[in-house]
Symmetry: C2
Subunit: 420 residues, 2 copies
């Protein structure tokens, strides 16, 4: 297919999405809820169809020698399809994020100015291997009244097409125009490049995947992008912290799921507690198989540690490696985090309110913790019900993003003949 | 000066701004208020200094043959400096937009999650001729706890430098580090290009000026930009509207200040009222010297009208020209506005709630009016006290933007040892 032919088809998808978004934007909350519940039922009903599409992807994956962890992420089975359906039902049950009156004011001249939440319009989602993202992302976009154009990884192409097909058929049964959920029907890179220039039709793009994918999207996209590049998360064990709690939190933040973006990557330890605290925390981390890379001072207190380079303090290891640094008080800790961090999730472990106040006020990150694990930065854990991604941007949305974050607002001004 | 030398100096401005923003972010509301009031006093005290700097700009402007309207915009005098100072005092008196708890939730595990408004950090403002923008923009940025880097038009360079100098001296007297208000100290285009690549130091850029300036900023900037390209504002005179009110509103929206972005550019008239309404509204508009460009149907009802081309319906005239079209009901009106408009300000004139509801729900613009003039899209008129610009973007802020819109948020999560 030539670039021009592909362009024409994408243009058609874009126009359909725009039309569908206009219908979705004014769809009553109840109708959206029912439609999402029907989509959940339809996924269950189409289990064998989805699993046999997935079998094709798995066959190709095995042929290409894909590693076991990736194959696991790609695999759909009875339980995982149930879980996709449950996800849609949970999103359906949430409060409707559209049409909320965010503020209202009556001006001295009698004008009544209301600020009301409205959908964005059309959202583009670009993601890698997991096919469940097709249903999760579509559900949350629809809840917020948006049409969605999805582009999934090539290794899950058949699975994604099957899931999107089911969702689209259900949307049609609900009386919605074609274009509510659309999947880019090609796996080559040209299609993504073209999609990212469609700012006439796509209001916002959310990439989900590794830093490489996200950098490509940001470089190519002509529409706004909500994203995080990486999560270089810190915990600072401050003077006066409860050692048992601190060790517990640090081990959880580093070890419970080291490959995710809210996992701990750098531990800062206050000099005043180092001599006593380092042996305790090191023992616990080493017992979990964590490789420690520390500054000279830390290495003196922990024989098993390797010497850290400066690059270690910028690193998102996504594995059982932890950078450690001894710092002199909360100011140096904050300075380190704002310099080396990624503005994702950073916490202080301390019982001294003066220090925790300084920390929360001065750390410039999307989520700042006091005495808890960084692993809680997650839409579900925040009570959003579902999550479309996490933002380390400052514009529009920061931290975990749910359906609320997929709305914008407009002002509705009601008058009775006012002129200026 | 070479590009590299300029880069080094800009880099220094950036670092200073970043440092100043950290100090401003934690400055208590009272201290910001007092600092802004002192800035107002300092402008008054420095009147002769500012007026003599302005005289140099005016001399150069006269030499270059600048037209009278532009020279008027460039001129500073006693009254205008008083008005800048008043603006700062008004911003000082507003509620502090920083540190607001936007939402708070306690999760079943005991985590307390608060969403709190915080400053962006460093804001870049790029503007054209009016030197008062230096004080207005700096005031609103500081109110929201941000440092600001300004780049004004070359024709107002001396005036801008004098004003920024006064503000900076005052910031120093208030104990703030250097870098709260900085003006790019060159007038050549290279400096803007370099500034727009400083995403390490500038979190957000707001351009204020003509469409050409804004397109350049969007094309060059590597940081987010909040802006509107143009205001192609519509009013739709619907079936059942009050004719006297409608004529009054239309004349006001078109004629009260035709050169501003919230002025009316296209009038839509419902077919059902056209025969009766067109003579009345045409008479009033023609009496004000408005040139009418209508479709064939309108031209039949109004002999003085010229025939409109399709391009007239995309046009932002910014002068006493009005495009007119006869439409068949509210659905066609909405369709026209969403196709030809600029998502700025659009209104319906009608007494029928079914139509006004359809209109407000379906018009995809930042501000949607019922029975009032589009001229009210303005921070002051919205009760924001001051305005840094108007956004037709959907991300982050739509419509008039005040100090609230110059904040973002972060999540502060307080726990007692929670792990996941």
């Amino acid at each position: 297919m030539t670039e021009q032919e592909m362009s024409l088809i994408l243009e058609k998808l874009g126009r359909q999405a725009r039309r569908a978004s206009a219908a979705l934007a004014v769809l009553p909350a109840d109708a959206k809820k029912i439609c999402l519940e029907k989509m959940a039922d339809a996924l269950i009903a189409a289990k064998s169809e989805i699993i046999s599409a997935n079998a094709k992807d798995l066959e190709a994956a095995h042929r290409s020698g894909m590693d076991a962890a990736k194959i696991d992420r790609l695999t759909l089975n009875d339980a995982r399809i149930n879980s996709m359906a449950d996800g849609l039902r949970q999103v359906a049950a949430q409060n409707d994020p559209v049409g909320k009156v965010l503020s209202t004011v009556t001006r001295p001249n009698g004008l009544q100015i209301s600020k009301v939440s409205v959908p964005f319009g059309v959202i583009g989602i670009i993601f890698e291997s997991r096919p469940n993202v097709t249903a999760d992302a579509a559900g949350i976009c629809i809840k917020a009244g948006n049409a969605v154009i999805l582009r999934g990884g090539s290794e899950a192409f058949e699975s994604n097409m099957a899931i999107a097909g089911v969702l689209n058929r259900t949307a049609a049964q609900c009386g919605l125009p074609e274009g509510v959920v659309q999947l880019i029907p090609w796996t080559d890179r040209m299609a993504v490049k073209l999609m990212l220039k469609m700012d006439r039709y796509i209001d916002l793009v959310i990439p989900r995947g590794g830093e490489g994918l996200i950098r490509t999207v940001v470089a190519e996209a002509t529409m706004p992008v909500l994203k995080h590049y990486k999560g270089v998360c810190h915990l600072y064990a401050a003077s006066g912290c409860n050692f048992a709690d601190a060790v517990n939190i640090i081990v959880n933040a580093k070890c419970s799921r080291p490959a995710v973006c809210n996992a701990l990557e750098t531990l800062l330890i206050d000099r005043s507690i180092a001599a006593e605290f380092v042996p305790q925390v090191s023992r616990a981390l080493l017992a979990k198989g964590v490789e420690l890379r520390g500054d000279a001072e830390f290495c003196k207190l922990c024989n098993e540690a390797k010497k850290a380079e400066e690059s270690d303090y910028y690193a998102e290891y996504l594995s059982l490696i932890l950078a450690v640094k001894i710092v002199d008080g909360v100011e140096e800790a904050v300075e380190h985090i704002n310099t080396f961090g990624s503005r994702h999730s950073d916490g202080i472990l301390s019982g001294i309110q003066e220090d925790t106040d300084y920390f929360t006020a001065n750390v410039d990150s999307s989520t700042v913790y006091v005495n808890a694990s960084t692993r809680f930065t997650d839409g579900g854990e925040f009570g959003m019900g579902a999550e479309i991604g996490i933002s380390t941007d400052k514009l529009h949305a920061r931290g975990p993003m749910g359906a609320d974050e997929l709305t914008t607002y407009k002002y509705i001004v009601r008058g009775s003949g006012q002129i200026r």
